[in-house]
């Protein structure tokens, strides 16, 4: 809440400063720039403003209104009420960066729990306090690997099955630099992950893949990790953290760096954000990892306490030598994930993952059974997302699906021209069997109408 100064307080302050009016404080600004005209409408009352925002919001159809089968990196999952309840506590909601441990134990403790949960989930040794989102986490993985080898290995080999936005982010970061970003078989999703090795040489610092990949496919990367290590490079895996409730942990496959988009863990879709970047690595590389790190220590009375640690890595301490310009985290979203994971626990998370898995497999079976539709990668195991070949362009199908109250899956032709008529279908615990059956009926009807 904003509590302005009273006129008396203002008068007193102006007197101490030695000016007559507030306007006198701006005398250094050239007169013609002092009070620029801004073409704003007259001020609204709170009631009018609320009304206007509400009508803007009402113009959108959301996942509350329609059944959704859209994923591609952001998924409709259930957010337990407790998450919001804890997030909105003023102590968390308005907390600033915990630079002063003596007044920030709550925040620091929460972040420490987040880091610990990330390590438990991914099978890695250290985690940072979070990053902006999954895409920038991938870019930071490329950065970190570069610095592990002190610039002597300037090449990063990235899978073409990484999320297109993660790849685009990596390009944004490094295209203007002298780093080499190589994406073998770009645009071709049929390439086998092992084929990435062809591009790996002694100038490669990192090979990075996604798990499940952008098309929903699940691979065990253990063998690839070994082969990459044999060539002296680091191995990174970008994961869906919810899938880890069911699948083999990336740390167990031999990953050196694990990143994730944490949105599936108790964070609503919102309007594409805020989401949550997750970043974990091995202890021996901790000093090359960007981002904040919370550590556990004891205070002068021997009580357990938490502090920001290893801060000499960061740009506010040692700017010219920092390995990244990241020196912040996404504390509130990390807290959401922490509450979510703490609430569900290992068993609960597994149950959610299983629901996702089984519903998606039921949907795949129903949809592949429709005439004109088939699975694009029938051999590949998947978690809660799969690629479906369709008889019509996906954009057309999705338009028609709106009439049935359904948001269809992602149109892959947007990013992969060779994947015309391929839809990426996501199914979560939020999709009921009835919704899945309705989707099947709708897709069937749409295909038949088009054929007639």
């Amino acid at each position: 809440m904003y509590t302005p100064n009273t006129p008396e307080e203002r008068r007193a302050m102006l007197e101490v400063i030695g000016v007559q009016r507030m306007e006198d404080l701006f005398s250094d600004v050239p007169a013609k720039y002092r009070y620029p005209q801004m073409n704003l409408p007259p001020a609204m009352t709170e009631m009018e403003a609320a009304e206007e925002m509400q009508s803007l919001a009402d113009a959108n159809l959301t996942v509350r209104d329609f059944a959704s089968f859209l994923g591609a990196g952001a998924y409709h999952h259930y957010v337990p009420a407790v998450v919001d309840h804890i997030l909105r506590r003023g102590e968390f909601y308005t907390a600033y960066t915990p630079y002063q441990p003596e007044v920030s134990q709550g925040t620091l403790h929460a972040i420490f729990e987040f880091q610990s949960l990330v390590c438990a989930l991914t099978g890695m040794e250290v985690s940072n306090a979070s990053m902006y989102d999954g895409a920038t986490a991938v870019a930071e993985a490329v950065n970190m690997a570069y610095h592990v080898f002190r610039g002597k290995r300037p090449k990063a080999v990235l899978s073409s099955a990484l999320h297109p936005q993660a790849l685009a982010t990596v390009h944004t970061y490094y295209d203007a630099s002298d780093r080499e970003i190589v994406v073998p078989h770009e645009g071709d999703p049929t390439a086998d992950p092992m084929s990435l090795l062809d591009a790996v040489d002694d100038r490669t610092s990192l090979v990075m893949v996604q798990y499940p990949d952008f098309f929903g496919r699940v691979y065990d990367f253990t063998e690839l990790a070994e082969a990459v290590h044999a060539k002296g490079a680091l191995f990174g895996i970008a994961v869906n953290p919810l899938a880890l409730g069911l699948l083999k942990a990336p740390g167990d496959m031999g990953a050196d760096i694990v990143t994730a988009e944490g949105q599936p863990l108790g964070i609503p879709l919102s309007f594409g954000g805020p989401y949550l970047g997750i970043f974990a690595t091995r202890k021996k590389y901790v000093r090359k990892m960007a981002g904040r790190i919370v550590g556990e220590t004891v205070d002068t009375r021997g009580q357990r306490a938490y502090v920001l640690t290893l801060t000499a890595r960061e740009q506010h301490i040692r700017r010219a030598r920092a390995t990244s310009n990241i020196c912040t985290n996404n504390a509130l979203m990390a807290l959401a994930a922490t509450v979510y994971l703490g609430l569900l626990g290992k068993e609960g998370l597994r149950k959610v993952a299983e629901l996702n898995y089984h519903k998606a497999h039921y949907a795949a079976q129903r949809l592949a059974g429709l005439e004109g539709y088939e699975l694009a990668f029938p051999e590949a195991p998947f978690f809660n997302e799969f690629t479906l070949k369709t008889p019509l362009p996906v954009a057309e199908i999705n338009r028609r699906l709106l009439d049935y109250g359904i948001f269809g899956g992602y149109d892959l032709s947007q990013d992969f021209p060779s994947l015309d008529r391929h839809m990426l279908v996501a199914v979560t615990e939020m999709n009921t069997k009835d919704e899945i059956d309705l989707l099947a009926a709708a897709l069937d009807e749409i295909a038949r109408e088009a054929a007639a």
Partner: protein
Amino acid sequence: MSWKVPPHLKYTKNDEWINPEDGTVGITDYAQAQLSDVVYVEITVSEGEEVQKGDIVATVESVKAAADVYAPVSGTVVATNDELADTPEVVNSDPYGDAWMVRLEIADPAELDELMDAEAYAKYCEEREH
């Protein structure tokens, strides 16, 4: 305050020492006192690498700060003290002995003349404390 300043060594304005006989390089007692508890040392050059005077050869991180260690003269790196990464506290306890960081094959001995001797360095430290 007085700091150890072994007479047989040469010193830089950045508080590095070099042994003119064998080319060993480290940071001084004054430096470790300023840094306070050292928690990490990273040698950033490898054996066989050529360095110019002023190139960074190591990074020292303490609870208070992180500092770079520069080559006092040009030369080739013939050895690095890889044990320091595991026992960084040695920089505080034995800065001229076990805390040596790299050993250089000195390219041009004349560059040593540009450095301070023990007496000049001791004076330099005194001046900074006032």
